[in-house]
C-alpha cells in the first residue's frame, strides 16, 4: 500500500508540467517522422533487412519514440532526485526511512513511468498510427506480453539509473557517469538503429545485454517477431538481468551507507 502511495506521488509530480508534456510529445512526433523517412529509404533498398519489412521498420520507429521517455532511456527520472540528495546530503533523511532506498525510488519511478507511458507513450503511437499506418500487436497475447515486457524494461532501466545515481556517493556528482550511461543505452537499446540489423557479432552481443530490454525486446514482441518459446526466452532474459542488477543495487546501497556514515562524521 505504501508503495502505491509513493508511486501515486511520482505520477502526480510529473503530471504537473502540462506544457512540458505537450512540447515533449510534439518533439517525439517530429523525430518519429524524421526516422520514419530514413528507415523507409533504407528498407526500400533492402526490403528484408533484419527480418523486418518497411511497415515493421516504421512501427519500430514509433514504438521507440513512445518508449524513449517511458523507460527514461536518456537517464533522469526519480534517480536524478537521489543523486541530487546525495550531493546535498539530504540522502541521510532517506536512509532513516523504514523503507529500503531501492524500493522507495523504484516505486516513485514506476509512478513516473506510468505517467510518461500514458502521455508521451500513447500520443506518438496514435500519431504514428494515423500518419504512417503502423501495425498494432497481432494478438491479445502479444499485446499483454508487450506490456509485461515494458514493465520489465522500466525496472531494468531503473536499476541501471540507480547505479548511475549511486556513483554520486563516491564522485559527488553523477552527471558524467549519467551521460556515458545514456550513450550506452542509446546505442545498445536499438534507438539509433534496430539491433536486428547490426552486423554480427555486434548484433548477438547487443541482444544479450540489458539495454536490449529497453526497446528491441518489447518492440519485437509487439511486431510478432517473438512468439512461443522465443517470447518466453526474451522475457526470461529481461528477468535475469533485473535480478542481477537489483542485487548489485542492494550491494552498492550497503557499501554507500557505510560511506555516508564516514562522511557525516
Amino acid at each position: 500500500m505504501l508503495y502505491v502511495a509513493i508511486a501515486t506521488r511520482g505520477f502526480r509530480r510529473y503530471s504537473t508540467y502540462r506544457a512540458a508534456t505537450l512540447a515533449g510529445i510534439f518533439t517525439n512526433c517530429v523525430f518519429g517522422v524524421i526516422y520514419s523517412y530514413a528507415y523507409l529509404a533504407l528498407w526500400e533498398q533492402r526490403p528484408d533487412a533484419g527480418g523486418y519489412d518497411a511497415v515493421d521498420a516504421v512501427t519500430y520507429v514509433w514504438i521507440g519514440q513512445a518508449l524513449l521517455m517511458t523507460v527514461a532511456l536518456w537517464g533522469g527520472g526519480t534517480t536524478d532526485d537521489l543523486a541530487e540528495r546525495v550531493r546535498t546530503g539530504d540522502v541521510a533523511v532517506d536512509l532513516y526511512r523504514p523503507v529500503g532506498l531501492v524500493q522507495w525510488y523504484l516505486a516513485a519511478d514506476l509512478g513516473r513511468a506510468t505517467y510518461h507511458f500514458l502521455t508521451r507513450g500513447l500520443a506518438p503511437t496514435v500519431v504514428g498510427f494515423f500518419v504512417f499506418d503502423i501495425v498494432l500487436p497481432g494478438s491479445a497475447i502479444a499485446a499483454v506480453a508487450f506490456l509485461v515486457s515494458l514493465v520489465l524494461a522500466v525496472v531494468t532501466s531503473f536499476a541501471i539509473r540507480f547505479l548511475v545515481a549511486s556513483s554520486a556517493f563516491w564522485l559527488m556528482d553523477q552527471s558524467g557517469v549519467k551521460m556515458l550511461s545514456g550513450l550506452a543505452a542509446m546505442f545498445l537499446s536499438g534507438m539509433v538503429l534496430p539491433l536486428v540489423i547490426f552486423p554480427e557479432p555486434l548484433r548477438s552481443i547487443a541482444l544479450s545485454l540489458p539495454w536490449a530490454s529497453y526497446l528491441q525486446t518489447p518492440a519485437d514482441i509487439w511486431l510478432g517477431k517473438r512468439v512461443g518459446i522465443d517470447l518466453l526466452a526474451g522475457l526470461g532474459l529481461q528477468v535475469v538481468w533485473i535480478v542481477l542488477l537489483l542485487g548489485i543495487c542492494q550491494v552498492v546501497v550497503s557499501a554507500a551507507t557505510r560511506k555516508v556514515v564516514v562522511q557525516g562524521g
Binding site: 523525430f31 551521460m179 542509446m186
Partner: protein, 272 residues
Amino acid sequence: MADVLHVVREAPRQYARIARLWVRSSLAYRASFAMLTLASLLLTFLDFVGLALMLNLIGDLDGFALWEIALLYGASGIGIGVADLLIGSVEQVGQHIRSGTLDAMMVRPVPLLVQVCADRFALRRLGRITQAVAVFAWGASSVDWSPSKVVVAVLMLVSAGAIFFALFVTFSCVQFWTHDASEFANAFTYGGNTMTQYPLSIFPSEVLKSLTFVIPVAFANWYPCLYLLDREDPFGMPGWFAVAPPFVGALMCVVAGLAWCTGVRRYTSTGS
C-alpha cells in the same frame, strides 16, 4: 546609435568574462568534467556510427555514399556544435524565469541575452565540435576541390553556425509565454540537425520546401554541399542557393533578435 555600437563592442568581452567563471566552476568536479567531455564527443559520434552501419547494409542512401553523407553530417554538426557551445544555454531561459534569476540578471549592467547565453558555459561541448570536424574532414578529403568550392565551404560553415544560433534563440523565446516548454525548441534545433544529417532527398518534397522556406535549415548544409559534390538538386531548386546561406543566416539572426526583444518586452516577473 553610438550606444548600440558600444553595447555590441562590449558584449564579447562581457561574455568571455562570465564564461571563464563557469569553466572554472565545471573543473571543480574533475571526474565529471572528463567524462562529460568524452561523452559529448561520443554522443554525436554514435549517430555517425549508426549512419555508417546503415550504409554498410545498403551501400548508399538514395545515391549518396558514406563520404558524401559525412560531409552533410559534419557541416550540420559543426553548425549546431558551435551554436550550442556559444549560446546553447539560452534553452534555460524558462528555468531562469521560473526561479526568478532572470530578474537579477535584468538589473546587471550587461545585456540580458549575453548573460543568459554565457550562463553555465560548458567547455565540454567542444567534444561535439571536435567530432563533427573530424567527420567533415574525412568527407572533405574526397571532394574534388576548386577555389570557388573552398569559398562556398567556408561560407557554409560560418552560416550553419549562424542558422543554428538563430534557431536556438528564436525557439527559446517561446518560453517567455510557456515557461516549462523548453523541449519544444528541441524539435527545431536538434530535429533540424538530425534531418540535415541525411540527404534531404529521402524526404517528401513538402518537407524539403518547409526546410527551405519556413525553417530554412536546409541552407546550413544541403544546398552548399550539393555544389561541393557537383550534384544537381533532386527537387530542382536553383543552383545559386549554394551561396545564399550567409544571407539566410543573417536574416534568421534578425528574426531571432526581434523574437528575443518581443519576449523580453512581454516578460513580467513571476513576482515571488
